[in-house]
Symmetry: C2
Subunit: 109 residues, 2 copies
Amino acid sequence: MSSKPLTPETIREVALRFKVLAEPARLLVLNVLREGPLNVGELIEETGLNQANLSKHLQLLHAGGFVSRQRDGLYVVYELSEASVFALCDIMCGQLQRQATAHARRLRR
Amino acid sequence: MSSKPLTPETIREVALRFKVLAEPARLLVLNVLREGPLNVGELIEETGLNQANLSKHLQLLHAGGFVSRQRDGLYVVYELSEASVFALCDIMCGQLQRQATAHARRLRR
DNA sequence: CAATTATATTACTATATGGTTATATAGCGA
DNA sequence: TCGCTATATAACCATATAGTAATATAATTG
């Protein structure tokens, strides 16, 4: 379905969105948030990223609309706002798998 | 479905694949190839990219398994090998649209 | 208000990468 | 073999960005 015309402007925006996902640290954050909302301190524990670095990644994820944020007293709680990210990752993993098996098949010959 | 464990290694590989798509020039190439296979000269015309630059992008797309390549005499013909890229783009565009409408709604209030 | 805690931001460094020009390689025909 | 054309690669520069340490801001409590 869909397949909009893909103007240069749209292409640029889509590329920007892919860029947000093109970083292991950010994928890790999204993956951790899959279990449920977490505040920054909890995210530091779960991801092992340091505070400043994590904060920067969170700003990017938030700017891209991938997570939403809500202050709760001293804490800021982040939550997935785009479950569709995991559809994307699943497709990517599917590609990886197909290529891996294709590669294996190639070797087997 | 699926939702494999997402090891750090998998996360890194998925990020790498997203990185290939995180570039307007490469999305443009893929979009042009959607119409059918083209050789490099034709891709230069269609995309407006210069020869060396396009060639580098093509190497990345090929390394990522997004396109396949076949020599035909003097020419090298590139072809989409992963139609699933457009499922990805469609999801991204869907996100863009949802965010745009959400933004519009927010303004309207 | 002062002290404390949680988060965001700034400033900086190091690295990666896109674009360009020049050069190299590959395949074709004479 | 020698040109000629198509494509790939190398070398370079400029820019973007991830990581880090230090600092700033925000909210809470006393």
